[in-house]
Amino acid sequence: MAELTYRDALNAAMCQEMDRDDSVFLMGEEVAEYDGAYKVSRGMLARYGDRRVVDSPISELGFAGLCVGAAMAGLRPICEFMTFNFSLLALDQVINSAAKMLYMSNGQIPVPIVFRGPTGAALQLSAQHSQACETYYVHAPGMKLVTPATPADAKGLLAAAIRDDDPVAVMEGELLYNVRGEVPDGEYVIPLGVADLKRSGDDVSIVTHGKMVHVALQAATMLSREGIEADVLDLRSIRPLDVDAILETVARTNRVVYLEEGWPFAGVGAQIVSLIQEEAFDDLDAPVVRVTQADVPMPYAKNLEQLAKPGAKGVVDACKRVLYLPAGAAG
């Protein structure tokens, strides 16, 4: 085990996979000479050369499509979006080409591609640079999606995504890149579809993914000071989804809060709530509550941004709501 930042863990995963498989290459804006807009690919140009670490023009639709085409021919591209906000320009290639190709071709053409980059809000980047893009991707059959929250998960999930034979989106977080944590040395792969209980407590379940895992843990600490112990279930993988792990925590605590960075309307949480009421209705002692970004484009002003983002206090209140405790009591 070594302590690495999240960004270096991602770098380690890419290098691990590029060392073992020549068909893996990295393409994106600023990934080579600039070492990555967020320095995730630092040193990779020197290590692998410009055949495999490739600066693209600012043409999200074009280079995403080019990477999909390369994957159709059997290569395993890592297509980096500087942020997933910009990938909205590329969604035709993600949805209409990558996600549907195998099906349209009756299994002839797999598309083993990774789309990766940060999603969600950072600090005061305002409306167009602060949005969680999970739903856009995970909505389409054919896509897979993972959202690592820790450096270890970043390494293991990105490696698994690169090895997977389907298109996998790996959604990171700008505010996660500097997070440090223990990361297993050597080859490390975490299978897709396995959630991780980041904290254990029997009173209430906070189910979440990605960057919000840290907010959930913060909320769980605050709750603990009031004698309330929360499970924090990190889904890690949204599609495939670890339904067993969700049902297990629901069965144990009977009270669930879903926390996500995205908007509520047709969000990931909406899907999880639907699943829980369909498959674990009798285990619930309270309706599931969602904590999400406010249903508005992200404002710039500091105070408004704060109001729009889901935070630990809101999670604490939501947990109390499903426990039928007054909000803010004994705070």
């Binding site: 043409s59 074009g62 021919a73 349209m104 059959p141 034979d165 579809g193 993988s237």
Partner: protein, 361 residues
């Protein structure tokens, strides 16, 4: 040709003085005519099958443009790649998909080249190097660049031919792909099947610059050819594929042609956007099949009985394809969820509708 007012840039490879016609032997000429007749009869059969409800959805016929399918694709190697848009039945056949497999796909049957999952717009056969059949205008262009990227990445000497309609050049995907192809010198020949209309909108109504000018900004050589002349087209692509194989980098081909039918089955042949007279003049004077036929007959390389036998064979092959398609079963309902994913992960559920299975679902 509506657009063919400018001089056609003849390819350097055309050799006028060899026996036969332009260096094509009698056998080669017969083969090209046979191919084009097959494409024509295939499309006519599809038209007929559509009319009686055997084929559904959108269906776009290539009638009038067969010279391009034969001339651009037949000179390619089997391991060269072709990717195209949705008017692609004949291109698929040209690259090696059998009429049976193509027709069965149009019928939505299990023996179709895409197992009935793709339909008219999504014909695929990787063993033939036919990489689809894509339905979003311009969507196949970055994919074509990516196929070229993969060839270059592996150090191969194949070429990728990426077809598009004239309307596709106004998509951002086209501009982005040409730029990247030039930057990385990808072995891709981008071919505009310039039939003058994007659906019902004349190219000149939505573009100020000429087609041939479209690639210059990216440093990609442009070539205009007469797509109704299959011999010129064939010679051009034979030479160009060789040049690109040898490292000439991406090319842009403005292949002038004309669509004899409507945009799709719901569009009349003529009407609001082009006159009956315009269509008729092209059908009479610019049919790639009759142009070749007449030249062969004039040169004494084709007799009427030979032509009739050839045509009867083409019709029989398409009848057979339709019979085969009709007899092929519908896809097994149990396969509805097959091929959504290449890899069903050992953990987690991929489908949440309760029907898809996979993992623990």
């Amino acid at each position: 040709m509506a657009q063919a007012t400018k001089e056609i840039e003849a390819s350097a490879a055309v050799d006028e003085d060899v026996a036969g016609i332009e260096g094509f032997t009698r056998d080669q000429l017969h083969a090209l005519l046979t191919e084009m007749l097959l494409y024509r009869r295939f499309e006519e059969k599809a038209e007929e099958a559509y009319a009686i409800g055997k084929i559904g959805g959108f269906c776009h016929l290539h009638i009038g443009q067969e010279g391009l399918a034969a001339g651009a694709i037949r000179p390619l190697r089997e391991d060269d790649l072709v990717i195209t848009a949705y008017r692609e039945h004949t291109q698929a056949i040209a690259k090696g998909i059998t009429p049976r497999a193509a027709m069965a796909e149009l019928y939505g049957r299990v023996d179709g080249c895409s197992g009935g999952r793709g339909g008219s717009m999504h014909l695929f056969d990787t063993t033939a190097g036919f990489m689809g059949g894509h339905g979003i205008v311009g969507g196949q262009i970055p994919l074509g660049a990516g196929l070229g990227w993969a060839i270059r990445y592996r150090g191969g000497d194949q070429v990728c031919v990426c077809f598009m309609g004239d309307a596709a050049v106004n998509q951002g995907a086209f501009l982005e792909s040409l730029n990247m192809s030039a930057v990385w010198q990808l072995p891709v020949i981008y071919v505009v099947e310039n039939n003058g209309y994007g659906m019902g909108t004349a190219f000149s109504r939505v573009s100020v610059t000429e087609m041939e000018a479209r690639s210059g900004a990216y440093g990609i050589p442009a070539h205009t050819i007469n797509g109704q002349d299959v011999l010129e087209t064939y010679r051009f692509f034979e030479a160009m594929a060789g040049r690109v194989r040898g490292g000439a980098g991406p090319q842009f081909v403005n292949a002038e042609t004309y669509r004899f039918r409507g945009h799709s089955m719901s569009d009349p042949v003529s009407g609001t956007y082009r006159s009956k007279e315009e269509v008729e003049s092209h059908v009479e004077g610019q049919d790639p099949i009759t142009i070749l036929r007449d030249r062969m007959m004039e040169a004494g390389l084709l007799t009427q009985p030979e032509l009739e036998a050839m045509d009867a064979e083409a019709r029989a092959a398409c009848e057979d394809a339709a019979d085969f398609a009709d007899a092929s079963p519908m896809p097994d309902p149990a396969t509805l969820y097959d091929h959504v994913y290449a890899e069903v992960n050992a953990h987690g559920r991929l489908f949440l509708d309760g029907r898809g299975g996979g993992g623990n679902g």
